[in-house]
């Protein structure tokens, strides 16, 4: 005999409860995330009124305007700076992640916390630290002049180099963590076998370690590239007039030029890029997952 208990409720009833639990949160996200995205999609097809604001007619003018040389240059520059940031993070992050993954478990935990702590420090403060160090009268120039290495202060702040430095600094933990997770999972004996076979550093790295940790490399690159591409604070504070990135352009169109439709069209283009990259990653990821499970 089955006992009468709520566990044996009809399936339909339990399912209905699940939707009721989910509904309030879903509504909040729909209202404050999905709806705003729909609004900017609509606005991107409208035109700018004489005094700012929105005139609701349908046109593709804004998207056409984006092909303008100036916007193209800023877009290209953003892609370039974000790519450079990603590569530098990978080059710096891989040895660090590899080192951590090969430590005894206890020390691994300590090192991971050490990598994470700066990430939990306010982003503005971390960016400000670089202003303090890099500016003309800043710490770096003062020290270099005192040591006699340079005769006059060098301009580093307000250049693209400062922006990339700030971005690498800000997003390095995003690279290290997925890399660590991927490297840690690699069977040690495989690496040792590779050492026996190749006995040289580079083939072991390129032919064994890189293919085995590829999911982690791709995840880390995405986690660094996406926020770098949409960066606003770093180029705003560390960059000069010529190091504007897409994030700054969007802010400029919304708050200063008050061309909301153009700003919206820009946002839609960036969003399409970002969500495209993410969904490609997730599809590739789940395909790889399925393949692994099938084998």
């Amino acid at each position: 005999m089955m006992s009468e208990s709520p566990a044996h409720n009809t399936d339909g009833e339990a399912r209905a409860a699940a939707y009721w639990l989910l509904a309030p949160g879903l509504c909040w996200t729909a209202l404050f995330c999905v709806l705003p995205m729909a609004v900017i999609l609509l606005v991107s097809f409208a035109t700018r009124g004489t005094y700012g604001g929105i005139v609701w007619d349908f046109s593709l003018e804004n998207y056409g305007d984006l092909l303008h040389l100036l916007y193209g240059r800023i877009f290209g520059q953003s892609l370039l700076l974000a790519a450079l940031t990603t590569i530098l993070c990978l080059v710096m992050g891989f040895p660090l992640a590899y080192y951590i993954a090969r430590l005894p478990p206890r020390r691994q935990a300590v090192w991971l916390v050490l990598v994470m702590v700066p990430f939990w420090t306010n982003f503005l403060v971390r960016t400000y630290a670089w202003i303090f160090i890099l500016r003309t009268e800043g710490l770096l120039n003062t020290v270099l002049v005192k040591l006699g290495l340079i005769s006059a202060p060098i301009e580093i702040l307000y250049t693209n180099a400062a922006v990339v430095l700030g971005l690498v600094y800000g997003y390095l933990p995003f690279m290290v963590l997925p890399l660590y997770a991927a490297i840690e999972r690699v069977d040690r004996s495989l690496i040792e076998a590779a050492w026996d076979l190749y006995a040289d550093r580079w083939p072991v790295f390129w032919r064994v370690l890189v293919p085995l940790t590829k999911p982690g490399i791709v995840a880390g690159c995405l986690l660094v590239f996406i926020p770098s591409l949409g960066a606003f604070v770093t180029p705003d504070l560390l960059g000069g007039a010529r190091s504007m990135m897409v994030g700054n352009l969007i802010q400029h169109e919304y708050l200063i030029a008050r061309d909301w439709p153009l700003g919206s069209a820009l946002s839609i283009v960036v969003l399409t890029l970002v969500t495209g990259a993410m969904s490609w990653y997730f599809r590739a990821h789940s395909a790889a997952d399925r393949a692994r499970r099938a084998s």
Binding site: L21, W28, L96, Y98, Y99, W120, T121, V125, F132, P227
Partner: protein, 255 residues
């Protein structure tokens, strides 16, 4: 092999130095007596005293704490049931609902900010602390859902089945079994949401109205008006607070 070990080790130590040196420099120079802070001119607490007496800063801290507290309560009330719901819905639907729920995680912050700004403009809602709270709750909701769900997936379903077999109602099952087991995840999620809200600059920058200055907005305008030892001191305080919060969350997780 040996040479490689030393090379790796020095690379990694250099990486950590890179991560910590700028913060350490700020903390040291917040104690510098000189206003032209690039050279060391002796020890002084004066910049901390100036901060302590800064009324605009106090208002900003108050606003930030209010926004963080209210938005955290909202995301906990919405997020915990949502995580439980998401675990139970039919898998066919989950494939559709999951991306929607997690959407705010993948949208770059600037876009989230301008999209909310447009929404409030179209709805003709005046910008204030209320709009800031709504925005913070929007980007923190998936954070809570992810953390709570990770824990829910690790719970042993037999515990709940056993409770039901002994005659517990679903409500009793939740209060007596699920909730106590979720406590570490709930504390972690709360701390995470609170910290992220407290630290947020970009979304706040777009949706805060006049008079709704939060701490990061205040820090930003201070930085924009130039380097000063007051900002060094403020930075040092903020760094100390975040390290304290990280320590606290580690303690909670250890339990």
């Amino acid at each position: 092999m040996r040479a490689q070990g030393i090379w790796l080790r020095s690379c990694s130590v250099l990486g950590l130095v890179f991560l910590y040196l700028p913060i350490a420099v700020l903390m040291v120079f917040s104690l510098n007596a000189s206003r032209l802070s690039a050279a060391w001119q002796g020890f002084s607490w004066q910049w901390y005293e100036i901060l302590w007496r800064d009324d605009a800063l106090r208002t900003a801290v108050g606003n930030s704490l209010l926004v963080a507290a209210v938005s955290t309560v909202i995301v906990m009330l919405l997020g915990v049931p949502a995580a439980m719901g998401l675990e139970r819905v039919r898998s066919r639907w989950r494939g559709w609902l999951e991306p929607i729920v997690l959407l705010p995680l993948v949208i770059p912050e600037v876009m989230m900010g301008v999209a909310l700004l447009m929404l409030f403009a179209v709805l003709q809602m005046p910008l204030s602390l209320v709009t800031v709270i709504a925005g913070h709750a929007a980007f923190n909701l998936p954070v809570v859902i992810v953390v709570v769900r990770a824990r829910l997936q690790k719970l042993d379903p037999r515990l709940l089945d056993a409770a039901y077999d002994l005659g517990a109602t679903p409500w009793q099952g939740f209060w007596r079994i699920t909730l106590p087991l979720l406590v570490p995840a709930l504390l972690g999620a709360m701390l995470l949401a609170f910290t992220i809200s407290l630290d947020d600059f970009i979304v706040t920058f777009f949706v805060a109205g006049p008079g709704a200055t939060t701490l990061p907005l205040r820090v930003y305008s201070m930085i924009k008006s130039g380097v000063s030892p007051e900002i060094n001191a403020l930075s040092a305080v903020l760094v100390a607070i975040s390290m304290g919060l990280v320590g606290l969350s580690l303690l909670i997780q250890r339990r």
